[in-house]
């Protein structure tokens, strides 16, 4: 009775119970199925680092043809939308009012200085938004240098001894930020639904006293863990499919690696994420604490420290170590690679091994929180 067949019967019974509870509360389905879809749509369209047509005020104090030529280069940039302004004061007023994101100023002596090999253009950006400011600096620089080279060509001076960069960006030729944000969203969504859906499951049973009744049955802790995992894993698997379809067909993100591997890795991470929620739930035994912990332990680190937008290469060593301890970081690297770069086995094997290790560790820890003891 408590042998293998008992295990099966009990597991099926518990899983059926969890599934019924899941389906009865509509807010579960709302969070489990609708939220991921809404998120991926909202953020797929909403999140972008790509500055387009950024308004830039141009103050042309030097009205010589040479200066005009150079400034014309700004018009050619698809990223910038130059607006001619009469004076510096006007331009600053526009910038204060957030009407323009930057000011390009060609001083009165620009042409003369340029002829002497010292052409200087002043760029003023708003450092309060450093992302946009940095992007604009890059675009203005690029546009002006190109214009300068063209001008030199026309003048027949020639680019004597110049160095040109032949730039090739692998995996994301157009440098479209959506290509790396959308695969990252997959990580965020998996993290969220995992933690949110399961983080209350065990705490709720403690608070409502149902675990005490359950404990004094032939049920084994492992069966409780597995039964709480199964139905939510199904929901998560549906989300994986939704996210992949959106990524591929709505946002045209290429899938260069093996689709099968993406699905496998996503399911693996999903299990880690669900188990993390369950572990928090079992360890806190209290819905209030569990919800706070889930929020703090899942969402924010996954958003800020996993390499979703902030490149981990830029952070201090201590933070890198912490980031490397997050399962989300490894899944993030894997997903971006599988989407954009292809099936690169060393990364696939390393990441999957780490995720699998996390799954095992969390499963053991969660099982331990369900030891049949009230003291």
């Amino acid at each position: 009775m408590s042998g293998r067949s008992g295990f099966h019967t009990r597991l099926i019974a518990l899983t059926r119970k969890e599934t019924r509870q899941l389906l009865r509360d509509r807010s579960n389905l709302l969070v489990g199925l609708l939220l991921p879809f809404a998120l991926i749509l909202l953020f797929g369209y909403g999140l972008s680092f790509d500055v387009e047509n950024a308004p830039v005020a141009v103050v042309l104090e030097d009205r010589s043809p040479g200066a005009r030529d150079i400034v014309a280069g700004l018009d050619g940039s698809p990223y910038l939308a130059p607006v001619m302004v009469a004076s510096m004061a006007d331009a600053e007023a526009l910038m204060r009012a957030r009407k323009v994101d930057g000011i390009v100023r060609l001083p009165v002596d620009f042409s003369a200085a340029r002829a002497a090999g010292d052409g200087r253009v002043q760029l003023i950006v708003n450092g309060a938004d450093s992302t946009t400011a940095t992007a604009i600096e890059g675009y203005v620089n690029g546009a002006l240098q190109t214009a300068s080279l063209h001008a030199a060509d026309r003048a027949g001076v020639g680019a004597r001894g110049g160095v040109t960069l032949v730039q090739r960006t692998w995996f994301n030729e157009a440098g479209n930020s959506r290509w790396y944000l959308v695969p990252g969203l997959l990580v965020l969504v998996m993290t969220l639904i995992g933690a949110f859906l399961t983080s209350l499951l065990i705490a709720r049973e403690w608070e409502r006293g149902t675990l005490e009744s359950l404990f004094v049955t032939p049920v084994r802790p492992t069966e409780i863990v597995l039964s709480k995992l199964a139905p939510y894993a199904v929901i998560g698997a549906i989300d994986v499919v939704i996210c992949l379809i959106c990524a591929r067909f709505m946002f045209d993100v290429p899938i260069r690696g093996s689709l099968l591997l993406i699905i496998f890795a996503s399911l693996l991470y999903l299990i880690v994420s669900l188990l993390l929620g369950l572990f928090i739930s079992g360890a806190t035994r209290n819905q209030f604490a569990a919800s706070q912990m889930a929020l703090l332990a899942s969402f924010m680190p996954a958003m800020m420290l996993s390499g979703f937008v902030f490149d981990l290469r830029n952070v201090p060593l201590a933070i890198q170590i912490i980031a490397q301890a997050l399962p989300a970081t490894h899944f993030m690297q894997l997903v971006k690679t599988l989407f954009l770069a292809g099936t690169i086995w060393p990364i696939v094997i390393k990441s999957c091994a780490i995720l699998a290790a996390y799954a095992v560790l969390l499963a053991v820890l969660t099982r331990r929180t369900l030891a049949k003891r009230l003291d």
Binding site: M1, S2, G6, T9, R10, I12, A13, L14, R16, K17, R20, Q21, R24, D25, E205, R208, G209, T210, L211, E212, S213, L214, F215, V216, T217, P218, V219, R220, K372, R373, L374, D375
Partner: protein, 594 residues
């Protein structure tokens, strides 16, 4: 003498917990006992006696700090799972999954216990029939009334025939009808399957049904034996008094219970007073105490023995943990100075109706309550008592009808009107993570008391209910939680006090103390509306109303209601069951006629 192996064998068992102040105390203190197989065994004792800890240890959910514990011949500490595979345990609050239906809950536990499909059909059929729930199999467990939940919990516990059944206070908060049903199921199973059952209970009439009774108090085993043997301990000490006409029985009872030097216990019952004298008190002293009242010896009951045992233990121990709270402080400045000068009722209810969708929770109910009256609202679980209560307190709007508390409808009344009522809700509803003192501070503030007045009142209720101000309220024993709730409800000296099942889960000792406080309050002019499942408590009320399925079945003094039930219904319990059952028959006939 080939006695079968004992079901439970306990030697010198100790379970230690940390008290709120960090000092350890023994919840179970060197208990040794043996439970015989195939019998019904009771654990009785006041709150905090260690009954639940003992049961949890038997179920392998708590590990003992010392001693040996073997259940069904298995050392529980070494192999809890083997025990759990063979026993069934129903905790005080059975963990039904409220979002699952009755049938789904049953299926779940049947699967977990590995009940074969073939056995299951017969078993379910019997359980559903015995619990009278066959009609409700599709209903979510959360939508069942308290009594039905308890019955379903029992059914889930009994989906298979265990080798040992542990029931922790199965009848707390259950009405007399459901309680009767519950016991029918248990007794039938014992008869049919020779089940070994251990039950903890606060009801002495339940303990009386058991073959073996263990009396516990504060972790100690005080006595054990058959009900008959225990009863004999009170032999010759028990009496019944007949109050002279016009004198309310509860006044005589109060006079007796206020003399703990001579009297162990006194309760009103069927218009008379049952009491126990101390062994050292002679009949002459009794006559001095009751000069104008006739009294005569009566046969002892288990409850008498229980009260004697507890009093002896508490006396021997000095400070009484469950002592009787002082009650005189409850009175307003000297007490009884509020004249019943206006005979206008304080609470007026006319044709009150409350519907939830197409379900009528309260149907056309009318009654009045006068100043200083104790008004009891009785009825089975789900009868509409709580709904009526919530409407009276202004927590729920009435669908139709007229409702007046202290001259207004509290739902639309300005806040000041609410300052005149006190409310103690069914389940403990104070802030569990705050200390007793912090809870009282809060409610004093919430009722607008501040400064010296707040301090005075808080000090007064702490003394009155013998509370420990520093104790975290969440881990107080049930009886103390209940006292704290009462204390919070009385802080602002309300004119009207609403008490929803205030004595559920409270031991007899604490219930006596509680009712002593209530009667003292009523005498000082406070109007009290109370619900209860202990029918003997209806005897304390001036008038009672019996509700079932939202309808009012009886209304009058306890004597009138007993009379309505028919001559042979001597006690309130029988009267209640008779009236509710008659009401249900009439209802069915009405529906047939319609």
């Amino acid at each position: 003498m080939s006695a079968p192996d004992p079901t439970v064998a306990i030697q010198g068992l100790i379970k230690r917990f940390d008290a709120p102040d960090g000092t350890p105390f023994d919840a179970v203190d060197a208990v040794s006992l043996t439970v015989r197989a195939g019998e019904l065994t009771a654990l009785v004792g006041p709150d905090g006696a260690g009954k639940t800890s003992l049961m949890r240890m038997m179920a392998g959910l708590l590990s003992p700090d010392a001693g040996t514990l073997s259940v069904l011949g298995i050392d529980v500490r070494a192999d809890p799972q083997s025990v759990q595979d063979r026993i069934s345990y129903m905790p005080q609050r059975f963990g039904l999954y409220e979002d699952l239906s009755v049938q789904e809950n049953l299926d779940l536990y049947a699967d977990l216990h590995g009940v074969p499909q073939a056995v299951r059909r017969e078993r379910f059929g019997r359980m559903l029939e015995m619990t009278d729930m066959a009609r409700f199999t599709a209903r979510p467990a959360g939508k069942l009334s308290g009594g039905m939940k308890q019955k379903l919990g029992l059914a889930c516990t009994l989906v298979r025939s265990p080798d040992l059944l542990l029931l922790d206070e199965p009848s707390v908060g259950v009405d007399p009808l459901s309680r009767r049903d519950l016991w029918k199921i248990i007794e039938q199973l014992i008869a049919d399957e020779r089940l070994s059952v251990i039950v903890s209970t606060a009801y002495m009439d339940e303990a009386e049904r058991c073959a073996q009774v263990f009396v516990l108090n504060r972790g100690r085993l005080l006595a054990e034996g058959s009900p008959e043997a225990l009863r004999r301990r009170a032999e010759g000490l028990t009496y019944v008094a007949e109050p002279v006409a016009g004198l309310p029985p509860r006044d005589v009872q109060a006079r007796l219970i206020d003399d703990p030097g001579s009297i162990v216990d006194a309760v009103p019952k069927g218009g008379r007073i049952w009491f126990i004298r101390r062994p050292e008190t002679d009949e002459a002293a009794l006559r001095a105490l009751l000069p104008d009242t006739r009294f005569a010896p009566r046969a002892p009951e288990l409850e008498d023995a229980f009260m004697l045992l507890l009093h002896a233990h508490e006396d021997g121990d000095g400070t009484g943990g469950t002592g009787t709270p002082a009650h005189e402080a409850a009175g307003r400045d000297g007490g009884g100075d509020i004249q019943a000068d206006d005979d206008a009722p304080v609470i007026v209810v006319r044709d009150l109706v409350r519907r939830f969708g197409d379900f009528t929770a309260v149907a056309s109910t009318s009654f009045d309550v006068h100043r200083g009256e104790i008004f009891g609202l009785l009825g089975p679980n789900g009868a509409g008592k709580t709904t009526t209560f919530r409407m009276l307190c202004g927590l729920l709007p009435a669908t139709s009808g007229h409702l007046e508390v202290a001259g207004r409808d509290l739902r639309t009344a300005r806040a000041q009107a609410r300052a005149r009522i006190g409310y103690v809700s069914q389940k403990f509803a104070l802030y569990a993570n705050l200390s007793v003192r912090e809870n009282l501070d809060f409610f004093a503030g919430a009722y607008g008391l501040s400064g010296a007045r707040a301090q005075d009142r808080i000090g007064a209720v702490i003394d009155q209910f013998q509370l420990d101000p520093r104790a975290p309220s969440g881990i107080l024993p049930t009886g103390y939680k209940q006292r704290l709730a009462m204390a919070a409800g009385l802080l602002h000296e309300p004119e009207i006090l609403f008490l929803d099942e205030p004595t559920s889960g409270i031991d007899p000792l604490a219930r006596r103390a509680f009712w002593r406080t209530i009667t003292a309050l009523a005498r000082s002019g406070v109007t009290i509306v109370v619900t209860t499942h202990f029918m003997e408590e209806a005897e304390y009320c001036d008038r009672i109303a019996i509700q079932d399925a939202g309808r009012m079945l009886a209304l009058g003094t306890p004597a009138e209601v007993r009379a309505q039930a028919g001559g042979d219904a001597a006690d309130m319990n029988a009267a209640f069951i008779a009236i509710v059952e008659q009401g249900r028959v009439d209802d069915r006939q009405d529906r047939h006629a319609a």
